[in-house]
Symmetry: D2
Subunit: 507 residues, 4 copies
Amino acid sequence: MENETVILTGRSLTLEEVEKVSRKGAKVEVSSEAIQTLKDARQLVYDLANSDVPIYGFNTGVGWNKDKRVMKEFFQQYNTNLIHSHCVAVTPEASIEEVRAVLLVRLNTLLLGCTGIQPEIALMYMEMLNRGVTPVLPERGSVGEADIACLSHIGLAMIGEGDAYFQGVKMSAKEALSKAGLDPVVLGPKDGLAIVSSNALSAGEGVLVVRDIEKLLDIADMVYSLSLEGLNGNTSPLDPKTHEIRPFPGQAFSAERISKYIEGSYIYEPNWKKPVQDPLSFRSAAHIHGAVRDALEYLKKYLTIQINSSDDNPCLILDERRIVSCSNFEVTNWVLGFEMIGIALSHVSKASCYRTIKLSNNEFTKLSRFLAPANNVIAYGTIQKAFTSLDAEIRHLSNPATTDFFSLAGEIEDHANNSPYVVQKTRKIVDNLLYILGIEALHSVQAIDLRTDITLGKGTKKAYKIIREKIPFYSEDRNLTIDIQKIYEILKDDKFIGEIMKAVELF
Amino acid sequence: MENETVILTGRSLTLEEVEKVSRKGAKVEVSSEAIQTLKDARQLVYDLANSDVPIYGFNTGVGWNKDKRVMKEFFQQYNTNLIHSHCVAVTPEASIEEVRAVLLVRLNTLLLGCTGIQPEIALMYMEMLNRGVTPVLPERGSVGEADIACLSHIGLAMIGEGDAYFQGVKMSAKEALSKAGLDPVVLGPKDGLAIVSSNALSAGEGVLVVRDIEKLLDIADMVYSLSLEGLNGNTSPLDPKTHEIRPFPGQAFSAERISKYIEGSYIYEPNWKKPVQDPLSFRSAAHIHGAVRDALEYLKKYLTIQINSSDDNPCLILDERRIVSCSNFEVTNWVLGFEMIGIALSHVSKASCYRTIKLSNNEFTKLSRFLAPANNVIAYGTIQKAFTSLDAEIRHLSNPATTDFFSLAGEIEDHANNSPYVVQKTRKIVDNLLYILGIEALHSVQAIDLRTDITLGKGTKKAYKIIREKIPFYSEDRNLTIDIQKIYEILKDDKFIGEIMKAVELF
Amino acid sequence: MENETVILTGRSLTLEEVEKVSRKGAKVEVSSEAIQTLKDARQLVYDLANSDVPIYGFNTGVGWNKDKRVMKEFFQQYNTNLIHSHCVAVTPEASIEEVRAVLLVRLNTLLLGCTGIQPEIALMYMEMLNRGVTPVLPERGSVGEADIACLSHIGLAMIGEGDAYFQGVKMSAKEALSKAGLDPVVLGPKDGLAIVSSNALSAGEGVLVVRDIEKLLDIADMVYSLSLEGLNGNTSPLDPKTHEIRPFPGQAFSAERISKYIEGSYIYEPNWKKPVQDPLSFRSAAHIHGAVRDALEYLKKYLTIQINSSDDNPCLILDERRIVSCSNFEVTNWVLGFEMIGIALSHVSKASCYRTIKLSNNEFTKLSRFLAPANNVIAYGTIQKAFTSLDAEIRHLSNPATTDFFSLAGEIEDHANNSPYVVQKTRKIVDNLLYILGIEALHSVQAIDLRTDITLGKGTKKAYKIIREKIPFYSEDRNLTIDIQKIYEILKDDKFIGEIMKAVELF
Amino acid sequence: MENETVILTGRSLTLEEVEKVSRKGAKVEVSSEAIQTLKDARQLVYDLANSDVPIYGFNTGVGWNKDKRVMKEFFQQYNTNLIHSHCVAVTPEASIEEVRAVLLVRLNTLLLGCTGIQPEIALMYMEMLNRGVTPVLPERGSVGEADIACLSHIGLAMIGEGDAYFQGVKMSAKEALSKAGLDPVVLGPKDGLAIVSSNALSAGEGVLVVRDIEKLLDIADMVYSLSLEGLNGNTSPLDPKTHEIRPFPGQAFSAERISKYIEGSYIYEPNWKKPVQDPLSFRSAAHIHGAVRDALEYLKKYLTIQINSSDDNPCLILDERRIVSCSNFEVTNWVLGFEMIGIALSHVSKASCYRTIKLSNNEFTKLSRFLAPANNVIAYGTIQKAFTSLDAEIRHLSNPATTDFFSLAGEIEDHANNSPYVVQKTRKIVDNLLYILGIEALHSVQAIDLRTDITLGKGTKKAYKIIREKIPFYSEDRNLTIDIQKIYEILKDDKFIGEIMKAVELF
């Protein structure tokens, strides 16, 4: 994908493209129309300033200091001061992938021409992305309402201060720029504000989390499919007719996916010994995953608007040649989506845990207790503590954090939403859930092995194979901490779901 | 509205109609097509049972007892036992309005013909609604996944046991039916299950809460408008162009509404003494209210599906003449919406509190401290504790509750979502928020009064008048507990926002 | 107990005495020493004021208005204004019992002589208590740091405004005073502040909640004892030696109690069919209840200090004849105790729920599923939803609320603790838990009945008898909503645990 | 301290000693009496087993497998299997210091002779500590009720499997043992259980967190003292008399400490321009810190019992020569303490944030806005977002997590408390709070600098000096991310508070 190029217009960036650029090394290019917009906007800001109107952050201070005037001869100094004094972030660093997503999102929204930033600085984002210069960006310190405390570090690197990665190696920003053949930028009026005043940190990290949730849901559907085969469970809750009657879109989607995965499986064979109804964690899996898919749609919809619209204040209205003070940095609507999705994922986690518990219970599987391969093997007993303890963390993290803020800056900034933290706690939920689903998968393939001679579905067969290539049958007691880490890494790798999709011809 | 009639088809019920029937006394009528569907379904269930297939809840027990067979001669007895043993609810009672909503929702979803209930019993819901018989229904005791522990009380009243209201008076159900000219029903096979196995409690109560949130948002926009005039604030964040650039639908909607309310107001007059930017609680009001509107759309969409689709298990597939075991009682997707909206409303609450604090701060208003009308009057000082303490409750209630459940019924029922409690805590949030917005309104009209000789907007003028008719200017210290209760009741009354809408020609 | 009299000194009030006065009608008397202290303090405040020192709330305004001076001739007016403007409370009303606790606590702390209140007003609290005048006091509106928004209503009644109960009947305060043979008070300097500036609302309500928790723990130990007999469980975790080895005081206490209750029970008989170890909900009951007892000790210790020390600001130092500005209205330490106890009770709830689930599981009891008395009876199946849904509420309520506050009064009051709400949510937890333990008790007596011919313990025998007198054996399916309410009321009645204590000679 | 030796008896270990050994390299020695106890216990277990009594985990399986018998010839194999199958932990690793604390705590409680472990294995803990062998121990995976999923990794290292650190370098456990001159142990009966079945992970990590909180409170008192000087605030709330009148022990302690720190300060000078009362975040600091001190006492008391008593099941009663099944692995009482302290620290955090906000507000300080040293410097504006965002995390982390558990192991393990996670989230709270207090300190020293020519107190002078040695006066805008990290490290270093204590002669 390194040869792919994403063309940016300010209005057409997809979540998938953000991932391509940030994680897969795709290049970016700014459309010529967008470059013209940048130039027009820069000109407008000068024209307005010449008419001596106070323009927030251009010829005035920012925040509580909006009552202070900034004189022309101090533009560079003031903007450098602004970058410096806004560097108030706290460890840990965002990952290189995340910072790239941040750079991309900010670049795209700059192209709408609402800031009046120097075009050269806008293009610096592009160069950094394409040449592999990634500023070091501590990810804590912002309460949302623009992530100014953190994004400042991008400005810092652009002027050749602070640290940055070049091709994955950490060094001084100055050196990184130089190795990349770039000169530090010279800040002019409004540039400081344009760099820092954006929600690109939470939006950029958020996009990657959303992408990961999408994959997680595919994985969850897959792991559930394996478990259904491990249990020898009922397929009637997947009946398409029942989803027609109950038209929640997500549940029909998941049910269809799962049906694809288990196509051809032995579980479709009539078997009078099966109980009529399995535990709800099995029976309702498509419904629960579907509910999360519905919730995710909400989030995707608004996050896509976010990365293709201006969150700038003040905001240039190019076609009307004016500048307006506004509140477009408000991101509460999609922060709410992240809060909802965290709670939603807690349901996925609970259901996975309960399925795993059932898989180790001989009453339900009619296999051995704890899926032990022999009488003197202890097997999957204590592991129940591992995945349920991770679920307890998820439950804890799913508590909301968005409304816990202070009134700041002389009581002027009396609303916030903690967007970065909300995104980051969701990221942690997703990571924990990968472990939980991984442990479920360990159980389901073990249960499958204990049922000798069964035919798996088209997708589950593939999944089984990928897992068993790296993690052998549990034939005697061994250090499971290692298996847990392995299965986590298998699921985390895009290849896992990718190969399955190929197997079921969904790609 | 008592003369209005809502025709039910099972597929076309709106949230507004639920309110009309439950709160305004509209009558209901079942479409003839739906009656035929009920009959066909009843016949199908008999046909299937005759073919000796075990049908869950028809000729088998329910829940963990699904392995037990029920013989024909015990159908009435078993179904009565089922109703009795499912009466396991806990105080307090749902309100009459709420129980009516529950009856209506259950009636409508029965019409889809997925249960095979006796048509006579389905029509009993209609009769109860139309003749004013309302079973006493304690509202706690259900964990979602069908509100069987509570809905049983409707069955109880139908067989003439327990208590009910007739025309608003509590009496024995037997007497209520008799006064209404109705005979108790005789339960046959599957009737017990059809009565109890539905999410109609949480859906019914939920619809009313959603209706209340819709009104609350209109009120919030209105109260903010008054406050903007009380503060003499800036209107630039309402600029339609800024919402075009940032196309989150809710914020544009709220901004437009607010602009209507303040049309013609003095605050549009140029005033160089105004600060460029007001505190965010003012500046971002449309954005915050809009974010909640966006979240509410999510909830409305799925709740509308809920009340127009079958949540029954097992589910009759009439056109294919079969019955399927399924999990359509899962309501996680809209329960997530309620969790999200609770958090969203916490933002509305915070912003209202901060605006009120600003209105009592002379630094921001340039009026007197605490809006005191004279030097020896204490005025709105301590009241800050009142509304912020209500906000603390909202913050507390906005924590999620949906994933805290047990594995029940021999570990078979290992998923739940606590839908009734989630709805009920949201109801409480809405009620608290009405008080908070009410107290904001007390402040804003006081601030308006302290600014002599100003012209209010088209809508705000009306709102001001309605409030001041019942609550006079605060000219000397008086018992504010009374004013708080009064303003709460003014806002709660549909007439408040109704008359304003008329004034701004939105109705 | 109505003939009993509690002598108040300001330093010796116990939690038990608060309950006696508030709930059992005991009279109060102020020690003569304390009356002298009141007089000395009043004199001191006059002496200091004459020396023209500004004394907060005496000759100055309060809160943000502390910079305003109050002149002698306006003392009555100002103090009346203060009462009026501090009446900013919100429904619902505190119960009569609770308001009596509030009156008592405030009276006792006034006796320390730190306020300089008119002695006549202090004695008015005593008269109100002794003559049965109870002001109507809406219980919401305070954020802690003194419950000024609510306690003002006591002042209101004292000056003959607002409403009050006389001997349990609601009427105007004026009428209530008159019927009680009391004259309204005339407010002088500092009286308003002394009346409102206290944490007596949260402390008073808190004491009653703490008393209820103490009883609840006794009930929990008792219900567990019944369940142990219902299960035919193991007594080894009660072995005193194991508690010597693990010297957490609470668990030893509970273990001893339980051992007393089951003295002589059949479960001590050797029985080789018992499993070695019961589920943890049984095995760890004494440990869990004990942990809550330990936590409760924390709370009792500091709450006792609270009701016997001054929380006044400013604070008169009588022996040094000076007045100091201080922060003694801070009650964070015992509010923390309430937060902890809520979480602790969530453990009690969980354990009770799990025991009840086990009692209805034939695998564990070797009795019938759901404790059904016969094959065609459904019995305790759906009831699982009832108690677990109440547990979900407890889990939700156990989230903390103490740190969610605003910065008020011109940013001066930038700390709070929400003490009333924290107490009130704990009260709700206790109430829910009574239902949960009640439902467990329904199960345990049913299980006991299904084991024919067993000998119960000394205490459990009594408990069984009290319950079975009002709630018969569940021999056929019946409306359990009624049984749930009955058992709740049985447990709530002090007689239940009282008679058991007599039976085991603990009283 | 590396030359110091702590003598272990099983009954006398202090929290401070745990820190000495784990962090400062003190050596440990087991008392000869304790060694004899170990031997006696081992003998007893053999004697009992010979009498053919089933002994849980000795000649039976553990958990749900307690119904399985283990034969003598399989003792080593079974115990190795047990260690293997209990290795089910999840990243990240506990720190070396923490693992050392875990080793020490487990060693000490083994000395009580309740397990019957091989004395050689008990002494292996000592050798590992003294020779610097530290097993790699992933810290997640346990739900409390003994941290078996994690502690297994200690057993793994002891038998020469898995990884370990030797003198700080990671290598295979085998190599580490060999470098340390130790042979792997050979597991015999009951050894596996004795190694894994303990709460030593949560207790060990917990002790270090408690020690850090103790220091944090000293730091908080110190930073507050600096801020009081920065503000030129009032000292009257520190008046000892007011704390006599209000005898909560913690507040008096903090008030005294603070008074020591500011002894001799200019703020004691009479100054009529000071407002009578400072904001509560200043006025109530000693009370809030004191409340946390009181809460901490609770935790210290019970944690000290924990590390000096047996949490083993089954439990040998040496003097009565029997073995009892019990539930002494229950740690709910001190887990509750951690939940409480988390909420308590949230109060400390809120108060620090509010003080910092005040320090940057010229209205309160009468200094420049944001403590800017000159008009063209932006200074401490945006930094408000940094510390308040960290507070939002603390608020989030302070939600309880202890009651979110599943029923495991065939429904036998139906209680848990999530002790490790509760401890770990508290650790995170403490870490965040160090940053917050650090940022407050940056403000207070800047405010102090802006007040030229003032005399600081005995302790604050020292603190000021230590800080200013590393972080110069903020004279022009600079990258504050660096300053934030620096001040965090200064405060974290024991030397900071140590040198201050010396300066005020408290050590």
